[in-house]
C-alpha cells in the first residue's frame, strides 16, 4: 500500500466533499450525494437467499412486511412497498420486528418450576408435553360436570381455563377453540378482546 501525501488526501477530500459540487450545480439528492463510501455500500438484501411475505405482529393495522433470510438466519425486515395499507412504511414497533425475532431475551428451551421451588429448571419439550397432557386429563376428569343437580345438561369443566389469542394466527385460534371447547368442554376461554 502506497502512503498518500497530504496533497493527495486534500484533493481526495475535496473530490468527496459534497458542498463544492452542489455549488457547481450538482443535485444534493443525487450526484452531489455520492462518495466513494456510498459507491461501495451494498444493500444487505442482496445477500438474502430467501424472501417471504410477512404481516406485522403488533397492532391490528395489518402492515405487510418482507422478511429476508440468508442461510436460515433472518437478516432484515422491511415494509412491503406493494401493500395498499402501509406502502412500504412501518412504525417504530413494526420497524422493531427484526429486533423482536432476534431479541437476546428470547427463550430457547422449556422452563419448569416445580411446586414450592424457588427456581426454573430447563426441561425437554417432549417431557413437558407429556406432563401437560396428563395434567389436562387429570384436572378435566376431576372437574367435569355432565349435569347440574337439577338435571340441566352442562357438559363442561370449570377447572380449566385459557387466556390469549389476539396475538396468534386465525388457524391457531381455531385449534384452541376446537380442542378446548369442542373437545375438552372448557368454557373459560378468553383473549385480549376485552383488554
Amino acid at each position: 500500500m502506497t502512503r498518500r501525501t497530504i496533497a493527495d488526501r486534500a484533493r481526495g477530500f475535496l473530490r468527496e466533499w459534497s458542498i463544492p459540487r452542489q455549488i457547481a450545480g450538482q443535485s444534493h439528492r443525487d450526484e452531489a450525494a455520492r462518495s466513494s463510501l456510498s459507491r461501495d455500500l451494498r444493500p444487505r438484501l442482496e445477500e438474502a437467499d430467501t424472501v417471504g411475505t410477512g404481516i406485522c405482529p403488533y397492532c391490528a393495522v395489518g402492515c405487510a412486511q418482507r422478511l429476508y433470510a440468508r442461510d436460515g438466519r433472518l437478516i432484515h425486515v422491511e415494509g412491503d412497498p406493494r401493500s395498499p395499507i402501509n406502502q412500504g412504511t412501518l412504525c417504530p414497533k413494526g420497524a422493531a420486528t427484526f429486533g423482536l425475532l432476534t431479541s437476546p431475551q428470547r427463550l430457547q428451551h422449556v422452563l419448569y418450576r416445580a411446586p414450592h421451588a424457588d427456581r426454573w429448571e430447563v426441561k425437554p419439550l417432549d417431557w413437558a408435553m407429556d406432563r401437560i397432557a396428563a395434567l389436562v386429563k387429570r384436572t378435566r376428569d376431576e372437574t367435569f360436570v355432565r349435569e347440574l343437580p337439577d338435571g340441566t345438561r352442562v357438559n363442561h369443566t370449570l377447572g380449566l381455563a385459557s387466556l390469549g389469542g389476539a396475538t396468534l394466527d386465525n388457524e391457531e385460534n381455531y385449534l384452541i377453540k376446537k380442542f378446548f371447547s369442542g373437545g375438552l368442554g372448557m368454557v373459560w376461554i378468553e383473549n385480549q378482546a376485552r383488554v
Binding site: G54, P57, P84, R106
Partner: protein, 852 residues
Amino acid sequence: MPSLGATYGRGAATLPQWDVANADAILIMGSNMAESHPIAYRFVLQAKQKGATVMHADPRFTRTSAMADLYAPVRAGSDIAFLGGIIRHILENDLWFREYALHYTNLATIIDERFRGADELDGVFSGWDEEGRRYVYDSWQYEGMTVPSSLAEHHVNTTESFNDETKRLSHAPVPQDLTLEHPNCVYRIMRRHYARYTPEMVERVTGCPADVFLKVCEALTRNSGRERTATICYAVGWTHHSTGVQIIRAAAIIQALLGNVGRPGGGILALRGHTSIQGSTDIPTLYNMLPGYLPMPHAYKPHDTLKDYLEIEETPTGWWSNFPKYAVSLFRAWYGDAATPGNDWGYDWLPRIVGDHSQLPLTLAVRDGIIKGLFVMGQNPVVGSSNAGMVRRGLANLEWMVVRDFTETETAAFWHHGDARPQDIATEVFLMPCTFAGEKAGSFTNTHRLVQWHDAVVEGPGDSRSELWFMHHLALRVKALYAGSTDPKDAPVRHLTWDYPVRGPKQEPDAEAVLKEINGYTWASDPAERRQIADFKDLKDDGSTACGCWIYCGAFPADDHNKTRDRTPDGPDGPGTHLNWAFAWPSNRRTLNNRASADPDGKPWSERKRLLWWDAEQERWTGHDEPDFPEEKPPHFEPDWDSKPTGMDAITGNDPFIMIADGKASLFVPSGLKDGPLPTHYEPLESPVPNPLYKQQGNPTAKRWEHDDNELHPIGDPAHPYVLTTYRLTEHHSGGAPTRSVPTTAELQPEGFAEIPPELAAELGITTLDWVVLETARGAIETRALVTERLRPFVIDGRRVHQIGMPWHYGWHGYATGDIANVLTACVGDPNTSMHENKALTCALRKGRLAR
C-alpha cells in the same frame, strides 16, 4: 363489538383503512390514532391534504390533536354527553340526510306504546327490574312485533314468548310512519331523549367549551350528504368504559343519521390493538361464541336440543335466517363422521356456558381456586388485567399454569417477584418458548376484516414452537389418553376430527390445511374427496358441507388458491378497493352495507361518491366492490307479504343492512343490548362528580364484582379526587413483553411515567422527574412525574377536576421497566361486553416514593 353489531348488523369496522383518505371530514375520538396506529393515520393526513377537516376529541392533547384542524378537550368518561349533543344538534337543526335515514334506518319505525325513555324516568328506561338489576325488553319492541338481535345471541329473554313474537316479522312490513309525526316513532323518541344534550349541557358535563363543540358539529354535518362523507375513527378509548358499547352506539347513530355508512370515505373505523384481535373474535377464543358469531349453547336458555337451539336462535327474516346451515356445517367440521342426524350432529357434546366466563370473572375464579389449570398464550394478564395485583396474587391458587411466550413475562414470573414467597406457592409452572409470524405460516385478520397470510421464512430458535404445533400435539396426546374410554363425557374428545398433515422434522402442522377447514369443504370421510367451497351461499344444513367459520368462506376457495396470500394491489388508476389484495370477510366485501352507497332507486348518491349501483341492463348490482347485498335483488323489490316471506325474501330492495332482521340500521335497538335502546350519559363508576344529566348516576346494569380486594371509590371521594386515564405509547405494545424486551423500542421509551397537568403539579409541589405515588383502593404504585400541558383541568358542573394519564405497558421484566398501572384499576364491566373501565377511574396522587 356489539355496538356496531346491534346498529349495523356486524361488529366490525365498516370501511377499509385506506378509504379514510376519501373522507371529507374525520372525527377521531377515543383514540390517539397518530401514536397508537401511526400507519393508519397516514390516510387521515392524506384526506387532510385533499382538504378534509380533521377533528380530535380527547382528554389529552396528543400528536393526533397536534395534526388535527380542531381539538376538543373532553373529560374522560363523558363521551356520550358529547356525542348525544351532536345527535341533538343534527335532529334539532334538521341536518340529517333525509332520503338516506328515512329509508335505510329505523328512524320512522313505531315503538311499543308502553315504552318510556330515560328522559321521562330520570336515567333509566321502561322495563327496569330494580331487584334483578336488569331490563325486561318487551316495551322496547316495535309496535306489535318482537325483533331478534343481530348479535351472536339472537334470542333475548322477554316475558312473552320470544319466538312466537319474532315470527310476526314475516307477516307484514315493520310499522312505520314516514311523516315522522307518530309520537312513538324513533325520530320523536330520539328528539325527546336528546333534548337535554344542549351545547351548554355538553360543556357542563364534558368540560369542552360550547363553541368548540359546535365547530365539531358544524364540520361533521357540512361534510356529510349526497356529495360528501365523513368518517369516525375510534379505539379502546371508547371501549374501556362501563358505557363503552353505548359510546360506540352513539357514533353509529350519528353516522346513520348523516348517511355516512356503506359509502366511500364514510363509516366507522374501529382501530383494534392486536394483530389478529379481529380474527380471534371472528374465530373466537372467547367464551360466549362459536366461530362466525354463532351463540355458545347456554344452560339457562332454551338450548336443550339442537332443534331448540336452532329454532330459538334463528331469526325469521334477514340474512341470519341462514343460521342453521352455518351451525350444522360447523358441527360436521368438528365431529366428522361421528356427527349424524340421529345425534343432532354432535350438538350435545358441546359444553354449555352458565354465566359470564369472560376475562374479569375468569381472573376472579382463578383467585377463588375454581380454576385449577390455566393456559396463557401470548398474553400477559399480570400487566394487562384490571386489578393486576389481585390477578398476580390469585395465580398462586392454581395447581398448574402453562405460559407460552417468547420471554419470561410478569405472568410467568408471578411466583418469584416482590412479596411472593415461592416456598408457599404450590403452582406448577411451564414456560414454553413460542415462535413468531415469520417463523410460522398462518393468517392474521386486521382491523378492517382483511385476512392476510404470512409465510414461514426461518425456523424459530431452539425448542420454540408455534401455537399450532402446541395445540396439535397436545390434542394428539390427550386424545391418545382418552382413546380407550367408554365414558360418555369423553366422547367429544374421542370424536373430534383431528387429521391435520404435518411436515418437517419438527412435525409442524400444515396451517393451510387448517385454513381450508375454516373456509369449508363438501363433506367426505376421505380427505382426498373433499372440495373447497367458494361461497357461504353453498353451505347446507344437511351435513353435506363442513365449515369451521362461515364468514371466512372464500378465504381458501379452491384447493390451490389461498386467497389470503393474494398480493396484487390496484394500480394508481384502479378503483382503490384492492379486491386482489388478500381476502376480506364476508365474501371479499371491502365496505360493509355498500348497498347504501346507492340511493333507493339504485343510483349512486353522487358521481363523487360512487361505489355500488344497480345495472338495469344486466339486472345486477355492480361497481368497485363486491356487493354486500343479494347481487340480483332489484332496488324496487317488495316482499310478497301474503306469502309470509322469510329470510332475505322479507328484505326489500332498499334495505342495505341485511344482517338486521328488518334490513335497516337500528338507531333504536329493540333487543340485544342490556343497558338501553338509546345511548344515555352515565358517569363512570368512579367519578368525581354527580351525573349532571339524570338522577341515575352510573350505568345501572354495569357489572360489579364486589369483594374486599376489588373495592370502588364513592362518588366525589375526597381521598381519591383525581381522574386517572390509562393509555398506550407508540413504542410499546399492550402488556409490554414484545417491546420492553426488544432493545430498540425499550431504548425509545425506557421507563414508566405519569402525565400530570401543571396546575395540579404546582398544587402538590411536583416537578418533572420527581417520584410520585398513585394510589387507589386496589393498590399503590410509584413512578416518575411528567408535568405537561397536554393535560388540563376541567370545570365540571362548577367544580375543578384534574386528570392524570399513565401508560399501562410497564412491568418489571425486560429492558424498559416501571410499575404496573393496572394495579390501580378495578374489575368492573360494561354490561354487554364485560369490558373494564380503565379509561376513567379516580385516584390519589402524592409526591414521594412507596415504602417497600
